[in-house]
Amino acid sequence: MTLRLDDLRLTRGATHVLDGVTLEAREGEFISILGPSGAGKSTLFELLLGSLAAEGGQITHNGQPVQGRDLFAFMPQRDALMPWRRVIDNIALGLEVQGLPRRAARDRVRPLLPRFGLDGFERHWPHQLSGGMRQRAALARTLVQDRPLLLLDEPFGALDALTRTRMQRWLEARLQETRVTTLLVTHDVREAVALSDRIYLLSPRPARVVEVFDVPQPRPRMETGPGEEALALETRILRTLLEGERE
């Protein structure tokens, strides 16, 4: 399985957003798309999900043009939990949209709750959960859809530093189990280095790929903390980012 974004171009109104973005995700890889705020990172997801059409370039999956949305499970920046649905029904939302009756969807979700640290909270309302728990529920809702590709749009951006580190650790463990192909949009360099197999660094708008970094460090990484190699890489990426802004 390979997803390819090939020379994607887009102009919205007077704004030149994407200036030929090319990237690739192979089976089981964790890919980060890193760039300054407003670079058009989230726009890439809108193209993948078909809510926007690119003006140039193409998106292919195993060499075929991508059609429809049943390839992707998407997690938006904020958790987007529905306040009027209980936790279990929020997680089951995607299954219900796919046509599963509510009861069957709940039965599929229930055994997963302990892995997401939500055991005993299925009947709670979202506003009764902590920030970290809400984010785990949103991730559970994404994973339970059982799509071949995950699209995570700055999933931990709104959390405090400690909770964020905890969540990254936890996400790494979950992905170790499933090895589902993941695209992560983030502006957090450390997060990208800690989680990714490969990092695509985008320029400020109009976005193009400035540099591609491979992260060879073995997993699990979060347990041991960043090694010297990872710290060096982090510094290198940060420097490239800052230089890009000075131009």
Partner: protein
Amino acid sequence: MDIANVTRAAARGLRRAAPALVSVVLILLGWEVYVDLSGISATALPAPSRVAAQGWQARAVLAENALATLTATLSGFAVSLACAFVLSVAIDFVPLLRRALFPVFVISQTLPLVAIAPLVVLWFGFGLLPKILLVALVTFFPMLVALVDGFEATDRDITRLLRSMGAGRGQLFWRARLPSALPFFFAGLRISITYAVVAAIFAEYAGAARGLGIFILNAKNNFRPDLVLAAVFVSSALTLALFALAVMAQHFAQPWRRA
């Protein structure tokens, strides 16, 4: 909920209502004392005690007329709600309708009820129909606006999420837009239900066989301000009861707000 819980809730409610109760009692007391000391005639300004006594004597007639007003209010409001809901959904799916119809409804809100009510009675008689029409005229537009705005207040991230899951326009409406509109709907409901009572009484005032409106008109013509005021209190009580019902409906329709 067990008995102890209900008792506690009632006690809490009473404590919260106490300041308002005290001010109402003080106003009534001041009124009573003023009437007593100034020696003003009862046909100009009756004391609250007289209003209560005369109202109590006329309780059977008052109840019968209040029931007629309640019937007119509720049937008019039901018609108005049904129309507002159907049309708001249509507008949500076909935005062009909004631009076509909103100006007409805005104009309908500028019509003075004083002028319209007698005409509607002239056209449709003394029965229930003209009351339903007038109550609907007054309450339809606020409910329509509440619903249309409510649908549009749907969280953008939730919309994007549902779309990414493959939801079409119909699913988007049932799963996101309709529940998002609930707080707006209930805000509109609480306001409109109070307008509805006023509109019903006005419609009766313009011509009716029964109802608080016609009762008030007759009492006034017979120089009985005590009975006018008694009917006014009954209509206030009716309005408050309907308002409380709307609050209770919201309580049950949005269980996540209670948790």
